[in-house]
């Protein structure tokens, strides 16, 4: 119930540039009618740049709440979330919005493309909300991204004209257009069959190898095994935080490819 005093983060401000984000003693409480739900009870972890983290946990573990915090869609009740040098916990609604448009790349389970826009326009949406006219550079960048995800030939298509996998690839291109601190993917393969899941996961791996930081929320072990690191939440607390060895990751990839259904 009581708001806890802010935890000292004197050492956190140092050297933050190495981190895509740092979560410090983060707590979140919701008041539902008379009941207070403590969704996060003090979670602390760092995500260094270039990391590939899978966040797991059963429903009710605070996974979604953590995702909303990391995505700057909500503010923690106490504790801090540093994106670069800035503590998101202290920001107002407009500041959060501009952080989202500049430093976070969202990928959703349901793709969440805007129906009335074409592929390129969808990719450019975060730039649009940065409030500046599109530069030539950004223009070519969005085209390059579309090509990178393999949709260079479908720039003028609408989301309804694309398959699920293609839509998710547009979403990934969109998440990269603002050169974010990290990609935040919420069950990105939840709506896809195993073949397209594999495509998306390989795309993530490729991006991670290029130096992109990825935070991926999932409840599937096969997906989490492909990440470099797995954080597991339980009852609003960090249950464990461990690294996947390269062997585990390779085995998971191999297993996925071998067990892919044969196309008829």
């Amino acid at each position: 119930m009581s708001r806890l005093a802010e935890v000292k983060v004197s050492d956190a401000s140092m050297d933050t540039m190495r981190y895509a984000c740092r979560v410090v003693e983060m707590k979140k409480e919701y008041v539902l009618k008379s009941e207070t739900v403590r969704a996060l009870r003090g979670v602390t972890f760092d995500v260094p740049e270039g990391d590939y983290v899978a966040i797991m946990g059963p429903s009710g573990s605070g996974k979604s709440t953590l995702l909303n915090m990391l995505g700057c869609l909500d503010k923690p009740t106490s504790g801090s979330l540093f994106l670069g040098k800035d503590d998101v916990a202290k920001m107002d609604d407009d500041q959060l919005a501009s952080i989202r448009s500049q430093r976070i790349g969202f990928v959703f389970q349901a793709y969440n493309l805007i129906q009335q826009l074409t592929v390129v326009e969808n990719i450019q949406v975060p730039l649009f909300y940065q409030g500046r006219p599109l530069s030539k550079e950004q223009q070519t960048r969005s085209l390059d991204l579309a090509k990178m995800v393999g949709l260079g030939q479908r720039l003028d298509h609408r989301p309804t004209q694309l398959s699920g996998g293609q839509q998710q690839r547009v979403a990934i291109a969109r998440s990269l257009v603002n050169d974010p601190y990290f990609i935040l993917a919420d069950e990105p393969t939840g709506n896809l069959d195993s073949r397209t899941t594999e495509e998306i996961l390989q795309l993530f791996e490729k991006l991670n190898n290029e130096g992109r930081t990825i935070i991926l929320v999932t409840h599937e072990d096969e997906v989490s095994k492909r990440a470099k690191r797995v954080i597991r939440l339980k009852d609003g607390l960090l249950q464990w935080d461990r690294l996947n060895t390269q062997e585990v990751r390779d085995a998971a990839a191999k297993y996925a490819i071998e067990n892919m259904p044969v196309e008829v």
């Binding site: 869609l73 407009d94 919005a97």
Partner: protein, 441 residues
């Protein structure tokens, strides 16, 4: 700049996702704006016509008319003389300094005849000034002159309709018109051009139309017909003794019209008992007509404004539905960095695009008011000629005249309607919690 342009582009795209819905919404505003322009144009047309008729009476004139007194004021036996007298004419024309000229007028119903062609019409005894005051125009020949009046010539000037009826294939000048009631011939010296009706003056007289008139010098009339006129109506003899039916005064300075009218009222107060005259001041009628017109237009404008309001509510209704339907899109946009004001802007732009489209097309259609009314009337006359003929004059002849201010006005109002009725849906959209909006199915 770019963000506005982008938002407008986006708004158009979003609206185009549901073309039917958007068009119907636009229709509401379209009808509102078009009806503002149409109703104002038509009511102005009607008002202008009334004003034109009154103006044709002359704003600088004062008319004193003889009216038939109530029957209880008349003597039971014989004929009671009533109305204006020639003495009063002399008195008014000479003793009021602000009066420039005075015209004595005597009017009679008479039958006109030329060879075997007969018609009923109005015989008017007057002086040459009558021509100017009533803004008559000559087709050929000349109007009655002072000399003719002075020497009581049996000359006459006929209106175009009389010329048409009595002399369909001849030149009327130099011919003689016969009046069987007093067995008299009058030499035609002039023919008038056709002229429209003037306003009805008071209760005693319908609108003057100058179509069936023959004009003769007043002194000629006095000498040859006299003051007493007998007529046979539905089997009984009726008679009246009147010296003058009307005196029209022209006032030198329009500023003096009201004062002069008061003076005339006082001068003629001896008639108060008989109630046999009436003073008509066209200037006052004109002012009344202007007020009436303004009221009428205001009233019409309000009716039209209500239809605009209904259109605006239509916009709000659709936008509220749209906001609910697009909750998810709002969530996505918020997640990708849209601020609350970006969402407000987006929805306001959409409502404004709707209402401005309605406004602009409404204005274009409003400008077609004149030709459309003409066309409709033409078709109506073609198909339902009989019904049309029975409609009041004003319906058949009204010329819509577009009120210039109504165009920017309608545009502005439609913009305001778009914004005002957009604010609520837009703020509702912006207030949504992005997390819940994203979860919305």
């Amino acid at each position: 700049m770019n963000i506005w342009l982008g938002t407008i582009q986006l708004g158009v795209k979003s609206l185009w996702l549901h073309p039917m819905r958007s068009i119907l919404t636009v229709l509401g505003i379209f009808i509102g704006v078009a009806s503002v322009i149409w109703l104002l144009a038509i009511s102005k047309g009607i008002g202008d016509e009334a004003q034109r008729q009154i103006e044709s009476l002359g704003a600088d004139t004062i008319m004193i008319r003889t009216i038939k007194p109530p029957s209880e004021k008349m003597a039971a036996q014989g004929l009671t003389p009533y109305g204006l007298t020639r003495d009063e004419y002399e008195f008014l024309s000479t003793s009021i300094p602000t009066v420039k000229s005075a015209i004595p007028i005597r009017e009679l119903r008479r039958q006109f005849q030329y060879r075997d062609r007969k018609m009923d019409g109005r015989l008017v005894g007057c002086t040459p000034e009558y021509y100017d005051v009533n803004k008559l125009e000559m087709e050929q020949g000349h109007f009655i002159t002072d000399a003719e009046n002075f020497s009581k010539e049996t000359h006459c000037v006929i209106s175009s309709k009389v010329a048409e009826r009595l002399f369909p294939a001849e030149d009327p000048i130099g011919k003689r018109v016969y009046m069987p009631e007093n067995q008299d011939f009058y030499l035609v010296v002039g023919v008038l051009k056709p002229k429209g009706a003037t306003a009805a003056v008071g209760g005693s007289m319908a609108a003057q139309d100058f179509t069936n008139d023959i004009y003769i010098p007043i002194r000629t009339l006095q000498q040859r017909i006299g003051d007493m006129v007998m007529s046979f109506r539905s089997g009984s003899r009726e008679g009246e003794v009147i010296q003058l039916n009307q005196i029209t005064l022209r006032v030198a300075d329009i500023k003096d019209v009201k004062r002069t009218a008061e003076l005339v009222q006082t001068a003629l107060s001896s008639h108060d008992k008989m109630e046999d005259i009436q003073v008509v001041v066209p200037l006052e009628l004109l002012e009344q007509a202007r007020t009436t017109r303004a009221m009428f237009m205001l009233f019409m404008g309000m009716i039209a404004a209500i239809s605009l309001l209904v259109g605006g509510i239509g916009i709000m209704n659709i936008m509220l539905a749209t906001v609910t339907e697009r909750t998810r899109e709002i969530g996505i946009r918020r997640a990708l960095g849209a601020k609350r004001r970006d969402i407000i802007r987006q929805f306001l732009v959409e409502t404004s695009v709707l209402s401005l489209t309605g406004g602009l097309t409404g204005i274009l259609f409003g400008l077609l008011c004149g030709p459309a009314v003409h066309g409709a009337r033409l078709l109506a006359t073609h198909w339902f000629g009989d019904v049309m003929a029975e409609l009041p004059e004003v319906v058949r002849t009204v010329e819509p005249s577009i009120v210039p201010a109504s165009i920017p006005g309608a545009f502005f109002i439609s913009l305001v309607v778009g914004i005002v009725f957009g604010i609520y849906p837009a703020t509702r959209a912006a207030k949504m919690n992005p997390i819940e909006a994203l979860r919305h199915e």
